[in-house]
Amino acid sequence: MKLFIRSVSIIFMFFIFRAISGCFNRDCPDDVYPFDFSKIKINNLDNSGMGPKVISNNTMNKAAVAFQVFISSDLSYLGQSRQKTQGIGFSEVNAWTNPPCPTYYASNQSVESISVVTLLEISSLIPANTEISDLFLGSDETSWYKTNLYLPLQKLSQKINHTYIDAQEVQFRLFLGREIENDSAQFIVNIEFSDSTSLSDTTHLIFIR
């Protein structure tokens, strides 16, 4: 009887050890997958409230003109399956609460500059077809209110160059720091990359209220 209890105790301790070690052993691949930015998409933002919201209509307040810009890749990688914890014994243990392994992506190009040209007159001092990059400020996904003010576009372009997790895309927001004195507005957003390529898109025609 004593031998049976000791054997069961040893097996029980072994299971406990496996369970504990399973909580810590996360064997995630740390490969970084390269990609090229090849697509650009611009959404309208309503920034009249506390924070910017994506909208489907083309009407904005004259002092709250804002856009969301996505640049992304055409490539699609399959998600990396999480490697199971390997070990001796007769069971494999993984913590139920472990989140799935992240997949890392890095762009082959870095963003060199972001520029904006207005296609319509903004005021008597700013006619159509003027580059107005200095009038726009930006924010990336992590640096809007509560922690930071807007960034100049030059600083924004430096900040969005990093390794991306679970996505081959980056998004940022552009905010016009000037009231529009016209009843409509439209802009071209141009992004220059380090390999001399560029992506460009035109916003919808915006009606100013």
């Binding site: 307040n61 400020l137 807007y150 720091g177």
Partner: protein, 234 residues
């Protein structure tokens, strides 16, 4: 900030005390595990144009799960000198809250003490203060749950009276010292309605030394022991 705060701190401790030969450099030592609670009572000052952060001092709720745990060590040296080290931990094992003191007992019962401490204080809810005159055209963009942690750092001295009666040990002390808190910043963001305008208001506190008086009383009881060790509670 004005000094109008009363901190009541109670703790219970189990200790193990060694008994060594009196001629050794370290005569004996005591290690204790504490558990207790602290209640901070701050007198609220009238609201003025400038914020008084003492009105937003976080009060530790008197609940067992919010109590603190601490470790302390006391060393008796051969020539009437003693050193005491205490740390308090509320949620995580750390040494943020520490108190170190040295004591000298020229007589058996009466001694002097000097030392320093560093205790964490928390301010919360201060975003409710009307930092600016809002005519309704701005949203206040701030996380109202934000807690601001600062540290009181103090040097102090005092007199200690200690009396042992059978298994009981009573100790009373009157400490006084000078304290300063670590300055901190508070950021408030204002977002204008119907506009991209975003403003940042930054408050920077100014800290200065202030004096304080802190009486202490401690009672201990020896549960059991032998020639080498004693076990008891404070």
């Amino acid at each position: 900030m004005k000094l109008q705060v009363t901190i009541i701190s109670l703790f219970f401790a189990f200790f193990v005390c060694s008994v060594q030969a009196q001629d050794k450099f370290i005569s004996h030592y005591k290690i204790a595990l504490n558990n207790g609670f602290e209640e901070s009572i701050a007198q609220k000052n009238p609201t003025g144009k400038e914020i008084d952060f003492m009105n937003y001092l976080y009060r530790f709720p008197i609940l067992l799960e919010d109590s603190y745990t601490g470790l302390s060590a006391h060393i008796w040296f051969r020539k009437s000198w003693e050193i005491n080290f205490q740390t308090l931990m509320q949620y995580h094992v750390n040494f943020k809250n520490i108190k170190v003191s040295a004591m000298y007992f020229p007589t058996q019962n009466l001694g002097y003490r000097f030392g320093f401490y560093r205790y964490e204080q928390i301010f919360t809810g201060f975003y409710d203060f009307p930092f600016y005159e809002n005519d309704g055209s701005f949203y206040v963009v701030a996380d109202k749950k934000t807690k601001q942690r600062v540290f009181d750092k103090a040097v102090y001295g005092g007199i200690v009276y200690r009396k042992t009666i059978n298994r009981f040990q009573l100790e009373g002390a009157l400490n006084g010292g000078a304290c300063i808190f670590s300055p901190f910043k508070v950021n408030l963001f204002l977002k204008k309605k119907d506009s991209n305008l975003l403003q940042n208001i930054e408050y920077q506190t100014v800290s200065d030394w202030y004096g304080y008086i802190l009486p202490e009383i401690k009672a201990g009881y020896k549960l059991f022991g032998n020639a080498a060790y004693n076990v008891g509670m404070n």
